[in-house]
């Protein structure tokens, strides 16, 4: 059985048996000289490839996912799903699954040396009135299984197991791919090939493309273990603890009594020695003590990479997730960044394929997600420099900040055990219309919309449930400022703008009402305020009053129809 990622990690014990496997199904094109055409082919059936297929399916676009293995991820891998990711997956209807199955956490604690008291603690969810928490921890394979169930229920996507993309030819009009299967090879053509084939991306290699940036020399050991433990549900990070002297350690709880323990090992290690079960045991025993029973779920050794491709879009081949960019894991910016790629890409591809937007809109995916990737790489690089100081003086500053942190609150902000994934604000995007009216900038053009609890016909609802998958004009009304007729039925060159109104507190007009005032507060709204919101829930523009021509300009800009 081919193992996924066997080169860098391995599932052991119960972990190995519990993964679902999928049989090879002989594709109809095998043995035929005719090349079947699909709108989209996706290389790679990890969380990013599967989510791409799911969002394309939601838009009615057919796709084929080629996955060379026969199972979902054999190891826990990505485990920290950030609030923005949960909101994105909520639009596919599986956000609740993650919330129900996973472990919710909002707080983190940082420990230093032998003290049992943290040097500081942080809360990542400032505003509690949100549908989703700061993070849900859940093994990657569960998320893949939810996505697969979703794909099985719809007719637009097909996942082909044990089928590997082994060659491609890209032209002006299409991409032709050669697929290897246990029964031989066949070819498919597509309008667009989406490469979601991971950090070693064979597609990237086949195209001879660059992957630039820094590789760090420090080594880290992930040991995911099953055990009954009463540790609190929070992110715990240690600098120089007694059980891993001179190094760091990180602990996360996952679903079904699986815990992630991540040990820093230092440079110049011998891989085989480190991965020897006796040595892994000794490390875990030093942490847990002699009496805790545990079983291995997954063990992996890794080094940090902070790298990205120079460009993510290469004509008709588009890179998403780890194939396009890599970060260190301290910050949960890998899969979470990848999901933001998918969210950014699919609506643009949809408009382009419907000929409602010019090809330039794909370039905007490149621009916006390179901006996002650079933000993730910057944060990840800074965390790495703090966690793994490369010189004596760098270590002195690190220890100075940690030693000061207890008595001097300012130093806590300098301590960096990972800056956890927050959604990217697309500040520099040319698709956004800058404010002309006076607004606070907590949320601003480029921001993903913030959630708020509303009442909808007397029933509780969340604002974000009403946004996404189409352009929305979000109108803040009150009895004296009802939505103008011109704001309804707005359309530009075939792209409609759906209207959602939110009435001020106490002015329930039967649609949605902001009883607690959270939406008005977060959106700095006054009666008459109008937000134009993209299909990926990012703010494209906003005004104190609705003005059809200004909205039309902003919509044209948001869809690359202005020069």
């Amino acid at each position: 059985m081919p193992e996924k990622y066997s080169d860098i990690g391995q599932a052991r014990g119960a972990g190995r048996e519990s993964r679902r496997t999928f049989a090879f199904v002989r594709p109809p094109q095998l043995g035929s000289s005719k090349v079947a055409h699909y709108p989209v082919v996706i290389a790679g059936g990890g969380p990013i490839g599967l989510a791409t297929a799911a969002f394309l399916g939601k838009a009615g676009i057919k796709s084929v996912v080629l996955e060379k293995h026969n199972s979902v991820s054999d190891g826990s891998r990505a485990i920290c799903w950030a609030k923005r990711t949960l909101e994105i997956l909520d639009r596919l209807g599986i956000g609740d699954h993650l919330l129900d199955k996973g472990v919710t956490w909002n707080t983190g604690k940082v420990y230093f040396r032998d003290s049992r008291d943290p040097v500081y603690a942080f809360d990542l969810l400032a505003d509690k009135e949100q549908k989703y928490p700061a993070f849900v921890n859940l093994q990657q394979y569960f998320v893949e299984e939810y996505l697969l169930e979703l794909l099985a229920e719809q007719e637009f996507s097909e996942v082909r197991w044990q089928q590997e993309l082994v060659a491609l030819e890209s032209s002006d009009s299409e991409v032709v791919v050669t697929v290897d299967t246990p029964d031989g090879r066949y070819r498919l053509s597509c309008d667009y090939l989406i490469a979601a084939d991971g950090h070693r991306s064979p597609v990237r290699a086949m195209m001879g493309l660059d992957f630039e940036g820094r590789v760090f020399e420090d080594n880290f050991l992930i040991a995911d273990v099953r055990m009954k433990a009463g540790f609190p549900v929070e992110r715990r990070f240690w600098f120089d603890p007694p059980f891993n002297r001179g190094q760091t350690a990180l602990l996360h709880k996952q679903a079904a009594d699986v815990w992630r323990i991540d040990f820093q090992l230092g440079r110049d290690i011998d891989r085989d020695t480190v991965l020897d079960e006796k040595n892994v045991d000794a490390k875990i025993r030093a942490f847990l003590g002699p009496d805790v029973d545990f079983d291995y779920e997954w063990v992996s050794l890794y080094t940090f990479h902070c790298r990205r491709m120079k460009q993510f879009v290469h004509d008709r081949v588009i890179f998403v997730g780890d194939s396009a960019h890599l970060v260190s894991p301290f910050g949960a910016r890998g899969a979470n960044g990848g999901l933001q790629d998918v969210d950014n890409l699919v609506w643009k591809l949809d408009l382009l394929m419907q000929k409602l937007a010019p090809a330039d809109i794909l370039k905007s995916y490149d621009e916006e997600r390179i901006y996002g990737a650079d933000e993730n790489i910057m944060n990840s690089t800074r965390s790495t420099d703090f966690i793994s100081p490369k010189s004596e003086i760098s270590k002195a500053f690190r220890d100075a900040a940690l030693e000061l942190a207890r008595d001097y609150p300012f130093a806590r902000a300098i301590v960096n055990s990972g800056r956890l994934s927050v959604p990217c604000v697309l500040d520099e995007s040319r698709l956004m219309t800058a404010d002309e009216d006076d607004f606070t900038d907590t949320m601003r053009p480029g921001s993903p919309c913030m959630d708020a609890p509303l009442s909808c016909g007397g029933e509780p609802a969340w604002l974000l449930e009403h946004l996404g998958e189409r352009f929305v004009g979000l109108y803040f009304s009150d009895s004296e400022t009802p939505i103008p007729d011109a704001a309804r039925g707005l359309e530009l060159g075939g792209i409609p703008v759906d209207t959602v109104t939110v009435a001020a507190s106490g002015q329930d007009d039967g649609e949605m009402c902001d009883e607690n005032g959270n939406a008005y507060l977060h959106y700095d709204a006054s009666p008459g305020t109008y937000y134009l919101i993209r299909p990926d829930q990012h703010v494209a523009g906003r005004w104190r009053q609705f003005d059809a021509s200004r909205v039309a300009d902003a919509l044209a800009r948001a869809t690359c129809q202005t020069t």
């Binding site: 004596e392 500053f397 220890d399 100075a400 900040a401």
Partner: protein
């Protein structure tokens, strides 16, 4: 950034600074200095000023000037 003296009784300050490091190992002194820099940076607070100080030493024009 101020290039002219702003410290009252600079000799006394300098003496106190050296005293802080008396009987310390080089590593210990380095840690103390790192703490001092972080504390002073927080006192200054202004990122523009801090950047200016860092830039001044990055280029190290003072060394060339003293020749």
């Amino acid at each position: 950034m101020h290039r002219e003296l702003r410290i009252d009784d600079p000799d006394a300050f300098y003496e106190r600074l050296i005293e802080l490091h008396a009987n310390r190992s080089a590593a210990d002194s380095q840690l103390i200095n790192a703490k001092l820099i972080l504390m002073m940076a927080n006192e200054i607070g202004d990122r523009g000023v801090l950047d200016e100080l860092l830039r001044a030493l990055q280029d190290d024009s003072s060394k060339d000037a003293s020749g």
